[in-house]
Symmetry: C2
Subunit: 222 residues, 2 copies
């Protein structure tokens, strides 16, 4: 599998700190896996998925309350590495998250037990893992700052701006429900606020899509 190896080498900065034996052991326990849109690939109950590299698609990492409320912490895209899917490997991670595939997604999954075993013996692997966790910590802090400190209209503006920047073009193909989920807000509030934006001539709405028609006005809300 030369493709798998070339991906792992690029994503795992510890790759050349591994012995040949360790490298081979990882390669032997890494599989390409497909998750269809909407499927769950990690939750509190599910056994540890392992370390994941996104080949194609998108993952959403979120917190889930007992009553079923969700807060999206961050999203992962092509080439991102997900370590919280292997939280069982890191004893210092004492919380749980859920991870869903947001669209049809191809992953490389490194077996958790194997990764764990190597991380225990090789500090570079251990260190890599905790560094990655710290990166996510930063993402979560950003999400937290938004949720706790910014008004909903401002956050919505930021969200829309981020989405069009990310995808190119000015049309966001998402239902209000999805936007609400990503932002950690209530769908009704998203609807109301989007209609307000539409009245201001900032966006044009139609079922399932939001088109930004005045980027300048949008940025003024930022």
């Amino acid at each position: 599998m030369p493709e798998i190896e070339s991906i792992l080498r690029r994503r795992f900065s510890f790759w050349d700190r591994l012995s040949d034996r360790e490298r081979q052991r990882i390669l032997d326990h890494t599989a390409a896996v497909f998750f269809p849109k909407g499927s769950n690939l990690h939750s509190a109950e599910s056994k540890c998925a392992g370390v994941v590299v996104v080949k194609r698609g998108e993952l959403r990492v979120y917190m889930l309350s007992e009553e079923g409320k969700e807060i999206t912490l961050y999203r992962l895209y092509e080439n991102d590495v997900c370590i919280l899917s292997a939280s069982c490997v890191l004893q210092h991670v004492t919380f749980d998250v859920n991870i869903d595939a947001e669209c049809d997604t191809e992953l490389l999954v490194v077996n958790a037990a194997v990764f764990s075993e190597i991380a225990e013996k090789n500090v570079y692997v251990e260190c890599f893992s905790y560094k990655l966790a710290t990166d996510r910590f930063s993402d979560v802090m950003w999400a937290m700052q938004q949720i706790l400190f910014m008004s909903f209209d401002r956050r919505l503006a930021i969200f829309l701006a981020d989405e069009i920047a990310k995808n190119g073009g000015d049309t966001i193909r998402m239902t209000h429900e999805q936007v609400a989920k990503y932002m950690g807000g209530a769908r009704e509030v998203v609807t109301r606020m989007l209609n307000y934006f539409a009245n201001e001539g900032i966006v044009a709405l139609s079922r399932g899509t939001i088109r930004v028609v005045d980027k300048k006005k949008l940025k003024r809300l930022l």
Copy 2:
């Protein structure tokens, strides 16, 4: 300073992975520092304080919004090590926090530049730092879960229960203002809720103190 060395050895799990030279370098750049109650020992603007060990007292780590709103992330007590005070050392930490001394506090402070220099060369030190950051990540997730998912009365009950468990005894010497700060809520809401608790016979209030008179009822709210 044999005292400083004995504290550092106990708190820095990488201590016996250091060369004699590195150990000495750290010892030469560690100082005992006193921060009076209410003083700030780290903020976005202040230059990097360094790695801190709490000898005696208490630190509060919080996020600060542009408008001055605060959210307490976690608190640190005797023997805790604070790594976010040295966030400049960890490139993967891309957010900023504020840290105040909550009461008169004695610290050991390891110079940031020296620590950074050693962390760059010694993976064990680097790894230790990111592990510690991940511990705090877990604390923050707990705070986040509380703030976003739990009703205020439940959170207040948890807060009171935690405080009496921590201090022993049943009296909490804190103003409503302080409670609000720790919980990330509004003082008026704390006042209202405490009065409600008092009506239910759960607590007895007087200026500056909250006494829990019925722990069973309190736990029923948990």
